[in-house]
Symmetry: C2
Subunit: 242 residues, 2 copies
């Protein structure tokens, strides 16, 4: 069994099971949404696409997203896991507009049979589920980082490294790819998750938008039991349920 | 001034100066060829393309390359820096067939004004030249890894990390991208260069082909003063001179 990591969404490895990471903040937001009362998340890239989708679904739909860290006009919520965890769910469905996360999910869905949504928040639960799924399929596990604008992001790479380490706990026999080894080395180079996430360009942008508290929040490891799983991907909209 | 790293050739960052790395073994071979008497290297991807090119150039041309670590039929030399260093040059021009290295050089040439060919062998000389060139252009430096088949390779990532560290010695003011930080962490996680290169899939393939000595050879740092520089790229053939 092979553990692999793709640091950018443009890479093309195949695997039985993929775990998609956009730790600051999309995949952390998805984990918190499903852990705090939403029954499904619909992730799509464009703001207008998200608005149209939420309008079509009507009552019981909450519209969340961001551009440059900030909640867009007319949206109910930003892309903040903290905001989701600290408020009652406003409906059954969360429509989330996120560029990098959605791109990585859609890419992964085209190459893996099972696609899970990973963050530090649900590290243990998600890694255990991925290992079970890979054992069952007798296939490989890929940790797919979302990156930023197609480029490498160290917050996602840090989280990928934590996933590789956790997957090794759950898998009896495994072989780590070059990228999986590198991800572990990157994670091990930071004393804490807050340092690893905090070193990223995304964290600098969040701090500049006075959202440093979200970085700290996304760095909390293994606090949710939820395993967000990607179902249909249709018209670049990914359906995610727990 | 920004120091950036692209771990795979599919990434698209732009920079004033790019250093291309395919440390096992193409870019090391190029450095040794130019340091040991060849006046130019013509790098191209296909074997037939290389044969045709060498045939057209005629006398004074030496044909080198590999497929699965081994010298192809009809070729004068394999892709071994050791072989080049230990023999007299058989001509003025080395035609080198290398898939990953050529792809990375051609990609880099389309995005950077100056493209240098880097290895551990010429680390100090190449980093110093890149820093001079970037200061002159008031632009950024990109370390472009070749990877393997479009995927991440830890031998190239290790070398990229050593280049980031060396560039910081030569640049007065710099900002490291997420990927540059990660490359440094990867390099720092190995006690020696032989360990960093030796951990890669490419090294395993070389060991299996009884070429372990080439891994150790490619791990020697800062032993050549040569700065291979990419000139014209025409019909996917890159002209490289010192």
């Amino acid at each position: 069994m092979r553990i692999d990591v793709a640091f950018t969404p443009g890479e093309q490895p195949e695997a039985a099971v993929a775990i998609v990471i956009d730790v600051l903040r999309a995949t952390t937001t998805i984990a918190y949404a499903l852990a705090h009362g939403y029954s499904r998340v619909l992730a799509c890239a464009g703001l207008d696409h998200a608005r149209e989708l939420a309008g079509r679904l009507g009552d019981g739909t909450v519209l969340a997203g961001e551009r440059a860290c900030v909640r867009p006009e007319g949206f109910d919520l930003g892309n903040s896991p903290r905001e989701l965890a600290e408020s009652e769910p406003g409906g059954q469905t969360l429509v989330l507009s996120t560029t990098n996360g959605t791109r990585a999910i859609v890419t992964a869905a085209s190459r893996a049979d099972t696609v899970l949504v990973g963050s530090l928040a649900n590290l243990t639960a998600c890694a255990a589920a991925a290992a079970r799924s890979a054992r069952h399929a007798k296939g490989d596990v890929l940790v797919q980082c979302a990156g930023v604008g197609g480029e490498f992001a160290i917050d996602d790479a840090y989280t990928a490294g934590r996933y590789v380490a956790e997957l090794r706990v759950w898998l009896a026999e495994w072989e780590a790819s070059d990228a999986a080894q590198a991800a572990e080395a990157i994670a091990a180079s930071f004393p804490t998750a807050a340092d690893g996430l905090g070193a990223s360009r995304s964290a600098r942008n969040l701090r500049a938008a006075e959202l440093a508290e979200d970085v700290r929040y996304c760095a909390r490891e293994g606090v949710l039991d939820v395993v967000p799983t990607v179902g249909d991907v249709d018209d670049d909209v990914a359906l995610i349920t727990a």
